[in-house]
């Protein structure tokens, strides 16, 4: 790993100022970024740790009932502290990586990185979450722009993520046991005005919504509603763990399981 300056501000304002430096990079829990730096795939001149900012940590419930999670909140904290108010999201957080990784990795880091097989992008997109940064609010539908790509500007920091709480929700993860990422993961959320289905691990374009399944399930919420639906395998990921067709098949299977889990 190339060397860098390390900064650990204690307020969002100081973090934003530090991020203004040339080639500054935000550091969440580092569970992806540190391995990336070790491989010399990135060479920032300074790392700005976001884990020392108290106002960016923790889970709270807003007046409108939505669950707001500070950007530097660890997966372990979400798994424990969101369990009462948004159990499906807590369950998702509790399936990321392994216990030691969950004690460091953060929701903001995961969402900002937008790994095409990460769990949180599916949770955020499937819930219709709002990503709150130091200077604006971005809907999840506008935030995820493709593999490792987001709407974040240079120096912009995810301060919190706000999740509306659905009537029922489920995250179904088909684990890739070596990486512990999702080979395919489906987050399904049922709201009064319709169903949202977000898929991770499957597409070369990163996390996406399966709109045909959403329409079918919004009309009729039962597993059989998906029976005649097939997702196009053309843009699916193909690697040594699974072909395009296999991943497309898994999307249907995991979506069906998510519906069953919500019934």
């Amino acid at each position: 790993m190339y060397n860098f300056e390390f900064e650990k501000p204690s307020t969002i304002a100081d973090a934003v100022a530090a991020m203004g430096g040339e080639e500054a990079q935000a550091l969440g829990g580092g569970q992806t970024l540190i391995p990336t730096l070790k491989q010399r795939l990135a060479a920032p001149s300074s790392l700005v740790s976001l884990t020392g900012i108290p106002e960016m940590r923790g889970v709270c419930v807003e007046d409108d009932g939505s669950v707001s999670i500070g950007g530097a909140t660890t997966h372990a904290a979400v798994a424990a502290d969101a369990a009462g108010n948004y159990p499906a999201l807590a369950a998702l957080a509790g399936q990321i990586g392994d216990p030691a990784v969950r004690n460091r990795g953060t929701i903001g880091g995961s969402i900002a990185n937008n790994d095409p097989a990460a769990c949180y992008p599916a949770g955020a997109l499937g819930s219709g979450a709002t990503i709150v940064t130091n200077n604006r609010q971005i809907s999840a539908d506008d935030f995820f722009e493709g593999m490792f790509s987001t709407a974040l500007e240079e120096g912009e920091i995810i301060t919190s993520v706000r999740f509306p709480v659905p009537q029922a929700a489920s995250y179904q993860k088909f684990l890739q046991p070596a990486s512990r990422f999702a080979l395919v993961g489906v987050f399904l959320a049922r709201f009064a005005d319709g169903v949202r289905v977000a898929v991770t691990g499957a597409s070369e374009d990163g996390v996406f919504r399966w709109s045909e399944a959403e329409q079918a399930l919004s009309k009729e919420f039962r597993p059989d509603a998906l029976m005649d639906l097939r997702i196009n395998a053309m843009n699916m990921i193909a690697d040594l763990h699974g072909s395009k067709a296999y991943r497309a098949h898994l999307v249907s299977v995991m979506t069906k399981r998510a519906v069953e889990a919500c019934m």
Partner: protein, 161 residues
């Protein structure tokens, strides 16, 4: 270089490190606490697990400067005050929970973190908790058995394989 200070196994320590110095490097190379092993250096194998403020973390995937001001616990701090093995370490010995021993420091540290939050885990819970700790010798059976025994449970019905 930046000065970093922390408490390691109850003792205040400090040293000058670079931004990129990993916690595992600080422990091993600056403090000569080589009980913390670095196996994969990619946060997958878990041999480097230590406790930071009571939580299990992979020290090869955390910067030393991130641990500034923290309470760090390593395998060197696990024995009883009189130097005898603690309950978990003794159970690993009694139940043959190690062969080459390379993964053992991480296994013991993960086991300690597990038993702190779940004092009587089921076999399935132990296996689940050890997902991030790889052992290439034992096939895990006796590690799981040792941790079950350390939690005070009867392990006579668990097959030794």
């Amino acid at each position: 270089m930046t000065q970093v200070s922390m408490t390691v196994n109850g003792k205040a320590v400090s040293g000058d490190v670079e931004g990129r110095t990993l916690l595992s490097s600080f422990l091993r190379e600056h403090l000569s606490l080589t009980g913390t092993h670095v196996g994969c250096d990619t946060a997958q194998c878990g041999a480097c697990v230590v406790h930071v403020n009571g939580e299990a973390v992979k020290s090869c995937n955390m910067l030393a400067l991130e641990a500034d001001g923290s309470e760090v616990g390593t395998i060197e701090g696990q024995a009883n005050p009189d130097g005898s093995l603690n309950v978990i370490q003794q159970a690993f010995q009694d139940h043959h929970g190690l062969q080459c021993g390379f993964c053992t420091p991480g296994m013991v540290m993960s086991a300690a973190a597990l038993l702190k939050e779940n004092p009587r885990p089921t076999e399935a819970e132990v296996r689940k908790y050890l997902e991030g700790n790889l052992c290439r010798c034992t096939g895990y059976h006796n590690i799981v058995k040792a941790i079950m025994a350390a939690s005070g449970q009867d392990v006579s019905s668990i097959a030794a394989e």
